[in-house]
Amino acid sequence: MTDHDNHDHDHEGSDLSPMELRVRALETVLTAKGYIDPAALDLLIDTYKNKIGPRNGARVVARAWSDPEFRRWLLRDATAAIASLGFGGRQGEHMIAVENTAEVHNLVVCTLCSCYPWSILGLPPTWYKSAPYRSRAVKDPRGVLKDFGVDLPESTGIRVWDSTAEVRYLVIPRRPSGSELLEEAALANLVTRDSMIGTGLPQTPSGAS
């Protein structure tokens, strides 16, 4: 959040943006009519800012990298395997995990709206919801990957998953070389959000912080 940098005001009326005023008016009337509990709104925001995010997914991937049996379970029944780590629920009810290999790189998009596995990746980034990504991912995935600095070998095929129903997809990136001796927690630090969407690759151990 950078909103405090450029909103150095006293929160009184006229210096709020038109959008801010519009949203406040709506929240006020919905509260007055008894449709919402503002405290529940605060908790929803806190949950997706601080509790449910891509570190959940990174733990799933790190477990798959270090535990062959879990990996097989994840590929066979992702919803159950992910639930065993405590992640599930809203926008993660029907999960499929797809694995990158030397032959195939997976990329996830929702061309029709912004479907995304919230339970393990949190809220989608702005670019995932943007027109350029949704337009180009299914037609020129290699070009999209280049925007992210990812240049795959010509011999690697690309598989694009357009999430057009309520099934949600998690990409299991390839375990980076040099990570053989790392424990699960250190492995999770290598797993970036973008690598679980397919627009990025995991960090390499030397480049990890």
Binding site: A25, I96, S114, S130, A131, S135, D162
Partner: protein
């Protein structure tokens, strides 16, 4: 009556670069998280379902001019009006001028449970699946005059059944308030060369899949 989705963007001409974003960067204005939370909380009232929400958003006339959370706000306002939950005057003034209608309120105490439970859409199938893994299928060529989840770029195309997901709530009927009418759902995979002319540039072939309800498909 025609129905036009302005959200069906796959393959539409757009040469703009995709702009990567840091992992923690979720919101870009203070009102955006409020719109997110208002949408989730009002979604829990039971006054509409998620497919109605998607339909309300994708039919906004100025969809392409709006930012993501502006789309959510406009969609929410549309649903509030349509359901009779609020009047236009209440939305613009922020003052209640009509009695509330019956709605389930998402309480603070219920939030964690509601998020953890989610809303699974799998249902007991009423009949066997029509298609099997490996079968060639052709997608419906014509867009229906209502919300649907078959993207334009995948209409009238030949693909292959790759996965059978079970019976899921049918988005098309659910969006129209006609009930869940569950149908078998499949992952259908296409060679990109069958979707696009010319095919995507560079390297080994690209394949693209969608998840398609049974009535979108016919044997090829």
């Amino acid at each position: 009556m025609t129905y036009q989705s302005r959200a069906d963007l796959g393959g539409s001409p757009d040469s703009r670069a995709v702009l990567p974003e840091a992992e923690g960067e979720l919101f870009h204005a203070p009102w955006e998280p409020r719109v997110l939370a208002l949408t989730l909380a009002m979604g829990a009232t039971g006054l509409w379902n998620i497919d109605m929400s998607r339909s309300a958003r994708e039919t906004l006339e100025n969809y392409s001019e709006l930012s993501y959370y502006e789309i959510w706000l406009a969609g929410l306002q549309k649903l509030l009006l349509r359901s009779g939950a609020t009047s236009a005057d209440e939305i613009s003034s922020g003052r209640m001028s009509r009695p509330a209608i019956d709605a389930h309120v998402l309480s603070l105490q219920a939030v964690a449970g509601v998020l953890a439970a989610g809303a699974p859409v799998s249902r007991v199938p009423g009949r066997p699946a029509r298609f099997t893994v490996g079968q060639a299928v052709r997608t419906r060529a014509v867009a229906p005059p209502h919300h649907t989840r078959l993207p334009g770029y995948a209409r009238g195309k030949q693909g292959t059944i790759e996965r059978v997901h079970g019976a899921h709530v049918f988005a098309d009927s659910n969006a129209q308030g006609q009930g869940e009418q569950p149908q078998w759902l499949y992952t259908v995979v296409f060679d990109a060369a069958d979707l696009w002319s010319p095919p995507p540039p560079g390297g080994a072939p690209t394949r693209v899949s969608i998840d398609a309800w049974e009535s979108y498909l016919a044997p090829a």
